[in-house]
């Protein structure tokens, strides 16, 4: 046998675990004993661990592609008839494989720190890598001891049991790796935070090192959540995009604290303030990522995202979480009080805005955590079952999200350190005017005041970001000014403005979706129904055969005032191997609204047959995910800023540890406001 199989994969995983242990212990020891050789060993161990894990993961992929059903994991999740793409992506579509992917991504993050962090001080880098190694050890042990993806089964079955057909979808195939990269990426800021606590020093330079990692992880998490939500919109066929399911909340919680982290790290970097808070956020974000991914697998939280629930596995996870989270928070309780707080600022300032942003984001996070953990905790305390759903989250998150959006537009228009009310109000005038128009438009088209308010605030956020860009570019002050400033405007400024615009676009999408009209109808062939100012006619029902399913397709003609605007083909797929039926939703979008149709059950025979159809008209629906992509693009753009590049050499002279260069000319480095109109 030429290709490596399951045993080689198992061996490589064990090897990676040992290497990770060495990576977790030796550099820390070296840092305590001042042994330079041990410190320099850290990157090498990191790359070795990564290589071993890559081999291990490759072995699992090879087993899956070769249909080696003697591997239990492959037999349970794959089948001969499964298309090749899903044989590969199915590797991480189950518990064992996804844990291995999780470990692999953690190792890749470590490798990235070792590779791009060549400009970092030797001791700090060694400590960061050591902490990543220690976390890796724990999770690779978990993989080896409780969820071995390489276990053999004998006798080997002739064919596998196949994968859940709902997961056989390109959107979902790439959703886990992206989402996991987001989750795991926050391990790097976490490691930086713990290393800083061990060292007892947090300064502006630390903020500058942490931020690109936090932004990278945040971009991936944003994309991952958007992909997951999009998948549930077009695969599940319920017409919804977010169900406040524990697993969805588990991704939203670290996103909220991660967003807070990305913002508070700016304050550390630029103004050397909020240091302790940022360290805590870095720890909290990764802790929530860990708890989310792993609590779901322990079976504590009831969710539609079924992973095999196993209390024994849950206990191991809990122990691991206690070590990682409890350990880091204990360290925080011990060391953080001795960190000195940094720069001071007035409440009305950029920092003040960012503090407000942090408070609101953390309050939102607390609300979501409460809503998610309340049912199991109530059940254990009082023995009563209850469920917390959309009404609770609507009632609690909207009142927090509205002021957050209000602050978003004002914050970007404020200068650092101290702002003044009058210039701020003058700058906000165009945004306020547009938001007012939005409010009127919203009141005219939406039912209820809250959607109209949401729309107004979304427009306010977008307009505020555009105003910020316009002011920085000196628009309206002559062509010469624009020509002079355009090439020098830092990409970070573009990035943050674009990310804020993305957030506004998403909120507009959410608002539009809240106005969606839907109806469940029963139609015979040739019959039509009037829904959302359109006529929907069922013209035919056809049968088709797919690679591993039988499909029933409907031909649905949509017309407005007798003029045909779309022919849609919603279908139902019967996966014979799994006895599962999935709906294949038909969506026709013009970017301003989605026509959405799903085919349900059919009753009766022959000409009397009637077919259940679910018809939606979803205004602005694509904007929800479009906004997510724009946010991630904004983050990526700010990453490409030269000053944030991981390996960027420090400026000679200026930014030593513990000090920050306060450029008096502001705009040159994009940190301050343009001098006019601001007394600074």
């Amino acid at each position: 046998m030429a290709l490596p199989g399951a045993e080689e994969g198992h061996y490589a995983l064990a090897l990676a675990c040992v290497l990770a242990l060495a990576q977790g212990v030796l550099p820390l020891w070296g840092a305590a004993r001042r042994r330079r050789t041990l410190l320099e060993l850290a990157p090498a161990l990191c790359f070795a661990q990564l290589a071993a894990l890559l081999l291990s993961f490759a072995c699992l992929v090879i087993s899956a592609v070769r249909d080696d059903f003697s591997v239990e994991n492959v037999a349970a999740n794959s089948a001969l008839s499964k298309p090749l793409l899903y044989k590969i992506t199915g590797v991480w579509g189950n518990h064992e494989g996804s844990i291995l992917l999780w470990c692999l991504i953690l190792a890749i993050c470590g490798g990235a720190v070792a590779w791009f962090g060549r400009g970092l001080p030797l001791v700090l880098k060694a400590r960061v890598l050591a902490i990543l190694g220690a976390v890796s050890t724990g999770f690779q042990l978990f993989c080896l001891l409780t969820s071995d993806p390489f276990a053999r089964v004998w006798p080997a079955p002739a064919d596998g049991q196949g994968m859940n057909p709902l997961l056989q979808d390109p959107g979902l195939a790439f959703h886990p790796p992206v989402l996991y990269t987001g989750y795991v990426g926050f391990a790097v800021p976490f490691a930086f935070a713990v290393a800083a606590l061990i060292e007892g020093r947090v300064d502006a330079a630390w903020g500058r090192w942490v931020r690109p990692w936090a932004v990278t992880a945040w971009c991936f998490l944003t994309l991952g959540i958007a992909m997951g939500s999009w998948w549930s919109y077009y695969v599940l066929g319920w017409g919804g995009y977010w169900f406040w399911d524990p697993v969805e909340n588990a991704s939203l919680i670290p996103w909220l604290t991660g967003t807070a982290l990305v913002h508070s790290a700016i304050v550390v970097e630029k103004r050397d303030a909020l240091r302790i808070w940022t360290v805590l956020l870095a720890i909290a974000t990764f802790s929530f990522s860990l708890s989310g991914t792993f609590l779901v697998r322990s079976g504590i939280l009831n969710s539609v995202h079924a992973f095999a629930n196993d209390p024994a596995r849950g206990l191991f996870i809990l122990l691991l979480l206690a070590l990682v989270i409890g350990g880091s928070l204990l360290l925080f309780a011990w060391r953080a009080p001795s960190l000195v707080s940094g720069g001071i600022f007035a409440p009305l300032s950029r920092e003040g805005g960012l503090v407000l942003n942090n408070i609101l984001l953390c309050a939102l996070c607390a609300v979501v955590v409460t809503g998610t953990m309340y049912p199991p905790f109530m059940q254990i305390l009082t023995g009563r079952t209850l469920s917390v759903g959309k009404p609770f989250f609507d009632a609690t998150t909207i009142p927090l999200a509205l002021p957050l959006m209000a602050a978003m537009a004002a914050g970007v228009l404020l200068p650092w350190k101290r702002g003044q009310m009058r210039p701020l109000l003058r700058r906000l005038r165009p945004a306020a005017a547009l938001a007012f128009l939005g409010l009127i438009g919203g009141l005219a088209t939406c039912t209820g005041i809250i959607p109209a308010l949401c729309a107004a605030f979304a427009i306010w956020v977008i307009a505020g970001s555009v105003t910020d860009l316009a002011l920085r570019l000196g628009l309206g002050r002559g062509h010469g000014m624009l020509k002079q400033r355009l090439p020098h405007l830092p990409r970070a400024v573009w990035g943050s403005a674009i990310a804020h615009i993305g957030a506004g676009v998403t909120v507009l999408g959410l608002t539009g979706m809240s106005q969606a009209q839907h109806r469940i109808v029963e139609l015979g062939i040739g019959q039509s129904v009037h829904q959302g100012a359109l006529d929907w006619t069922l013209t035919a029902i056809r049968q088709e055969k797919g690679p591993n399913y039988r499909a029933t397709l409907a031909d649905l003609t949509v017309s407005r005032n007798g003029r045909e605007i779309a022919i849609m083909h919603p279908s139902r797929r019967d996966f014979t191997a799994q006895h599962q039926v999935t709906t294949d939703v038909a969506i026709r979008t013009n970017l301003l609204r989605d026509l959405y149709a799903a085919l349900g059950e059919s009753h009766g025979e022959g000409k009397a047959a009637r077919h259940v159809l679910r018809l939606h008209v979803n205004p602005l629906a694509p904007w929800i995910w479009l906004g997510g992509v724009i946010m991630a693009l904004g983050g990526a753009l700010s990453l490409s800023d030269r000053r944030h590049r991981f390996g960027a050499p420090r400026k000679p002279g200026g930014q030593g540890a513990g000090r920050i260069a306060r450029s008096p000319s502001g705009t040159a480095d994009g940190t301050g406001r343009d001098p006019e109109g601001v007394a600074s």
Binding site: P311, G314, G326, M373, H579
Partner: protein, 186 residues
């Protein structure tokens, strides 16, 4: 430099909070192992309520059907079990059901199943069911609040649901949870 104790206390808050959460999770996990906590247990309020209205046709050759009236007029407790031939946990549950059938009559409801599939499934190793109703479109299951198969309900004489499990039954669960309730009813 001395650090004020208020500051120390403040910084210890996160670890205290995480500790409390962790303790709660540990308690949930350990009671899950003992079977005292079921994250999927839903709608316990539906218990001790009158039976929903339904009427199911039987499965010829395997058992006759039943409706609300027949079920509420039995003189003894009945275990109502929703199953389907396409459901893997139901296969695993069959052994336990055959043992339970010696102590307690079990009435089955075939959920979204074709009659011939259901018949083959039930008769393969001996049917544990005294009666079998067919619920091809799953409407009765909705009335009962079933979220998936297998699911079991203990119905006491007079038509009250006294106990409900939204997972496969095993012998231990039956002895600890169901048997005491049936003795009480007798």
């Amino acid at each position: 430099m001395t650090i004020p104790s208020r500051r120390r206390l403040l910084m210890a808050l996160p670890v205290a909070g995480a500790g409390a959460l962790g303790l709660g999770c540990w308690k949930i996990l350990s009671s899950m192992e003992e079977g005292g906590f079921d994250p999927r247990a839903i709608r316990t309020e539906a218990m001790r309520h009158p039976l929903p209205d339904f009427s199911l046709g039987g499965l010829p050759g395997a058992g006759e059907g039943f409706d609300t009236r027949t079920l509420s007029r039995t003189g003894e407790p009945v275990l109502v079990n929703f199953f389907a031939s396409w459901c893997i946990p139901c296969v695993a549950e069959m052994d336990a059901l055959r043992k339970i059938a010696r102590f307690l009559p079990i009435w089955g409801i075939a959920y979204k199943d074709r009659p011939e599939d259901a018949r083959r499934f039930v008769l393969r190793d001996g049917s544990p069911y005294r009666r079998i109703g067919l619920d091809p479109d799953g409407m009765t299951a909705i009335e009962w609040g079933v979220t998936g198969v297998p699911e079991s309900f203990l119905v006491l004489p007079g038509g009250h649901i006294a106990w409900h499990a939204s997972a496969a039954l095993d012998a231990r669960q039956f002895e600890e949870k169901v048997l005491p309730l049936t003795r009480e009813a007798k």
